[in-house]
């Protein structure tokens, strides 16, 4: 019996260690906490180090940025429920809106406080296809063809997947001149081609790359670059459609928490640092599109041209988009109603 207990403990040990390792740089003096979403781990590792150096060089005491990563909405709920975040850097404005609305930790107009809708880095939604692009996928149109299998996560559980959905809808809406029933038909046809709705973007990448399911993976441009590098042997190719959505992952100071913890000054400097040439260069290294024109100019050749529409311009903001598409019984749910 005692041996059995020991085996329990022994077998659980490595996993608990992994758990500690992934929870980020704890220990030391944690001066600033950045609560972020999943795929930004590497980006903020680099940002945090560079910012730390700048901040200290300017005669300030050393600052340690503590990172927390998880699904975007899950992170927002954690902040609402009491996780003390000095800054939040999430996948969509809707999640930060939820914090502002429910906890009042930051003002409702938070997104107007920093340039470019509070997005130092942006991206867009692109296609990752198999080597040689055997299905010749060039545009959104090709994803709704009956013989194409499309991989994208569940919009109800993944913030990233909502960008994918809205990109497809926006394309159709432009094509059909805003005709809702035609747009709905197009998006329905596209989602009929989705064999598996993983709960998050990472799961979809695994399904596409390792389970070899689907002809095309819809996803963020920066993550497509990462996936192409990670699975270099598979020779995946990135296809940038002629039209797509501007993916805007915003950053914000959480006034109430930063005020309470006395970190407001360093938190503001941290967010501003992302808009400096040095911060922008880091973003470019991680394949984000940039918000500061002078720096973006230098990396012009790194990105394929694409015509971008925005959530605000096409859907009237996240709240309206959510109300129309993602709430229970909304347009996304209607795709899957029985008998359709």
């Amino acid at each position: 019996m005692d041996r059995r207990r020991f085996l329990y403990a022994a077998s659980a040990l490595p996993f608990s260690l992994i758990g500690c390792g992934s929870s980020g740089n704890s220990g030391g003096q944690a001066a600033l906490r950045n609560v972020s979403y999943d795929p930004t781990r590497e980006l903020y590792q680099e940002i945090n180090q560079a910012f730390g150096r700048r901040w200290q060089a300017a005669g300030n005491p050393a600052v340690m940025v503590e990172q927390s990563h998880g699904g975007s909405a899950k992170q927002a709920r954690a902040v609402i429920d009491g996780l003390e975040a000095d800054v939040v850097t999430l996948a969509l404005a809707y999640d930060i809106d939820a914090i502002a609305e429910r906890s009042k930790f930051l003002p409702a107009n938070w997104q107007q406080r920093l340039p470019n809708n509070s997005c130092p880095f942006t991206s867009t939604i692109v296609f990752l296809v198999r080597k040689g692009n055997p299905k010749n996928i060039r545009d959104w149109e090709d994803l709704a063809k009956p013989e194409t299998a499309v991989i994208t996560p569940h919009p109800k559980t993944s913030g990233g997947a909502r960008w994918n959905y809205l990109a497809a809808w926006g394309y159709a809406s432009r094509k059909y001149g805003g005709d809702e029933s035609k747009s709905r038909e197009f998006v329905s046809a596209l989602y009929k081609n989705v064999p598996v709705l993983d709960s998050g973007a990472r799961g979809s990448t695994t399904t596409f790359a390792q389970r070899k399911l689907g002809d095309i993976l819809i996803g963020w441009e920066n993550e497509a670059y990462l996936a192409r590098k990670e699975f270099a042997a598979d020779g995946f190719e990135i296809v940038v459609p002629p039209v797509s959505i501007k993916a805007e992952p915003p950053v914000a100071l959480v006034d109430h928490i930063a005020g309470k913890r006395g970190t407001r000054k360093v938190a503001e400097a941290y967010l501003r640092f992302m808009y400096t040439p040095e911060g922008q260069e880091i973003g470019a290294r991680h394949h984000y599109r940039l918000s500061v024109p002078e720096v973006a100019e230098r990396h012009h050749a790194d990105f394929q041209p694409v015509e971008l529409f925005t959530v605000d311009g096409m859907f009237g903001g996240w709240k309206a988009a959510h109300q129309q598409h993602f709430r229970d019984g909304g347009l996304f749910d209607q795709i899957y109603q029985p008998g359709t």
């Binding site: 899950k74 927002a76 799961g203 899957y336």
Partner: protein, 274 residues
């Protein structure tokens, strides 16, 4: 006849039991129900009868039941081998049974999906035979069998250890065949333990998220587990809707557990009565 209690401290331990259960189990669950009450009955009912909810309830209960049933049979065999026979590596096998307990469920989910998807070790063999496992209800059942196995084995082991092989010998001497011995002598003796194991495996399966979410494919109306619907509501900050589904599952689980437990009491009493 009033039985004399020879262990002191009944009042104290009962008091502690009630207090402890309240703090650990009842208060959080009460909070769950309380949060649901921010919905009107009509809103609550609309969530319950939504086709997506009904489909996921059906999927969750059926796969959980199938998995627990398979575990009851296969777990019995495993427990029987471990208790009755001596063989090299027995301790290692005994320890392996516990692994599904210790493994984070997401890890098991990813591993199972890798094995059973169409390009995996088993999936690539089964798929040409027309058996699709990953991203189907069958895959969900496989994951639930995996996480539920230790419950049945660990519940049965002590009961089988208590069963004296001499009883079987006696049955044989009295002229019982092998099946008769099994059905009339062994099975009744271990049925209460078997039901306990079944119940725990079933209950565990109903609430599972980590392993199921990877292998299910999460297709609306087809392979959406109730846990996924709850997460989906939370992702939209619909706390009331999520707790409504949670309360519904709570009620269903409670009724089912109560029924199974009554069955267990009944069989235990019947066996002792004989």
């Amino acid at each position: 006849m009033a039985r004399h209690r020879f262990i002191p401290g009944f009042g104290l331990t009962l008091g502690f039991t009630v207090f402890y259960l309240s703090v650990i189990v009842l208060v959080p669950l009460w909070f769950l129900v309380l949060r649901t009450t921010s919905l009107s009955w009509a809103q609550f009912w609309a969530i319950v009868v939504d086709p997506r909810t009904l489909a996921s309830l059906r999927l969750t209960l059926l796969t959980s039941f199938a998995a627990a049933a398979v575990n009851a049979v296969m777990g019995f065999l495993v427990a029987w081998s471990l208790v009755r026979y001596q063989f090299p590596g027995k301790r290692a096998i005994d320890a392996i049974v516990d692994l599904p307990f210790a493994l984070p469920t997401a890890v098991s989910g990813i591993a199972l999906t890798a094995i059973y998807s169409s390009n995996g070790w088993l999936g690539s063999v089964l798929e040409p035979l027309g058996i699709k496992v990953a991203f189907t209800p069958l895959g969900i059942t496989v994951a639930l069998i995996f996480i539920g196995l230790p419950f049945v084995v660990r519940a049965l082991q002590p009961a089988l250890e208590d069963l004296d092989p001499a009883v079987e010998e006696a049955a044989a001497i009295l002229g019982a065949g092998r099946w008769q011995t099994f059905l009339r002598v062994i099975l009744p003796a271990v049925t209460p333990a078997l039901i306990t194991g079944f119940t725990m495996a079933f209950a565990r399966a109903v609430g599972e998220y980590g392993s199921v979410v990877f292998i299910s494919g999460n297709m609306p109306l087809k392979t959406e587990h109730v846990s996924l619907l709850i997460i989906a509501k939370l992702e939209q900050f619909d706390y009331a809707g999520a707790t409504a589904l949670g309360s519904l599952m709570l009620a269903i689980s409670f009724v089912l557990l109560l029924a199974i437990n009554s069955l267990q009491w009944w069989t235990a009493r019947r066996y002792q009565g004989n």
